[in-house]
Amino acid sequence: MLLRATLINIELLFALLLLGLLLGTVVALLQVYGGRFAGTLAAGYAWVFRSIPALVLLFLFYFGPSEFGVNIPPFIAATLALGIRSSAYQSQIFRGAIQAIPQGQMMAARSMGMSRLQAIITIIIPQALRLSLAGWSNEFSSVVKDTTLAYVVGLNEVLRHARIIMDRHYELAMLAYLAVAVIFFVLTYSGNRSLGWLEGRLRIPGLEMKGGTQNK
């Protein structure tokens, strides 16, 4: 039962990471290249969504729309709340990475006739994503566990099931929570292993310091 419920956490994890990745990239690009207005807006976005507790965001996204008669399924509400929150964190990882790329890369791209957008897509983003991976695996470890928060909006995820077990058989409570702990340890560990592998795969020959990846 717990393992099956874990699938929901994994689904939520992928959904929120994907949303966070897409939004986070856009926010980071706007913050660096968007000019004053869009840049300030992007920075503001990052500030706001990093400042609100995850639980509060979950409540706002789940109960907020129902005030206006719109009922959002818990999964969608959780994806939006946690995904947007994660995008704020991810945007700062990407921003750091983009700013770490020497200006000459952009200049060289522009000097051969690429538009700014072309240069960003073909030159800047591929390099920035590589540089982001180490920071991103940190964000990954943190949001894996955040998926359990979604139980407050009634999502049938693993922690809620542990709670149900406790309610029915109090003597099994410790066992259930231990099982949850083990599940998340495995999820975090295997996720980080995969990201470490990816980082190694994408390493640019000759460029980065060896031994920099984790899990080596």
Binding site: G104, A108, S111, M112, M114, Q127, P205, L207
Partner: protein
């Protein structure tokens, strides 16, 4: 009609006026070498030509088309002007071949296989066709600069701007880059070169321009500039630079 014409270029950074009215004309097939003490705006001038640094005042034409016109298609014009940087600026996530072919694919819209062939041809020209799979960080400075020249050449530009192409190189690597550049000049490529390499200037320059404090002090052919410069500062600078850098070549 000259291939490149720059007229009265001004550029100011804050209080400092880096360029104070520079005008130059470059004929097709000509190699022009710009010399002068550092901080005199030579590099800024090059960047004003392809608008990497838009000038505050003044106009630039490439082959009769105004590059400084607000409505011109600057990306298209830039594709016709190669730029070779002092610190190479190869795309660090792409191997040698992709560095040379990416402009062909993304800017010129050439099919991948064709772009690959063209890139191979240019890499042969600079003697690096055996390094196509290497990434920039695996190459020496001299090799990187040769790749960056191949990258500029692949676009079949009307001219190439060189911004101190050998200044970041170890002395023993300068020769291989100059050799490529000399070959280019002799093949008839139009080149505007900012450099301290007097050997190169002597060997291939059709015209030498001496810049100081944001203006052109003097310009003329190498014989005249080296043997009988009109302006005392030109002679002083040439003596000092030859003493300092010697003459490779």
């Amino acid at each position: 009609m000259s291939l490149l014409k720059a007229e009265n270029i001004h550029k100011r950074y804050g209080k400092e006026e880096v360029l104070r009215g520079v005008s130059l004309e470059l004929e097709r097939g000509e190699t022009m070498v710009v010399i002068g003490p550092s901080g005199t705006g030579k590099s800024t001038f090059l960047r004003c030509i392809n608008q990497l640094t838009p000038p505050d005042k003044g106009r630039v034409w490439l082959d009769g088309v105004e590059v400084t016109h607000p409505k011109c298609n600057i990306n298209r014009l830039r594709a016709q002007m190669g730029f070779v940087f002092q610190d190479f600026n190869l795309f660090s996530h792409l191997n040698t071949l992709r560095n040379v072919s990416i402009g062909l694919i993304k800017v010129k819209g050439i099919r991948k296989e064709d772009a690959r062939k063209l890139a191979m041809k240019e890499l042969e020209r600079v003697g690096l066709d055996d390094k196509i799979d290497a990434y920039p960080a695996q190459l020496s400075g001299g090799q990187q600069q040769r790749v960056s020249i191949a990258r500029a050449l692949a676009m079949e530009p009307k001219l190439i701007l060189f911004d101190e192409p050998t200044s970041a190189l170890d002395p023993e690597l300068i020769g291989e880059v100059l050799e490529v550049m000399i070959k280019l000049a002799k093949d008839g490529m139009t080149m505007l070169v900012v450099t301290h390499e007097m050997g190169f200037a002597r060997a291939v320059a059709d015209e030498i321009v001496f810049m100081e404090h944001g203006v052109v002090v003097e310009q003329g052919n190498p014989q005249q500039m080296f043997s009988a410069p009109e302006h005392p500062r030109t002679g002083e600078f040439l003596n000092k630079i030859t003493e300092l850098y010697g003459e490779t070549e």
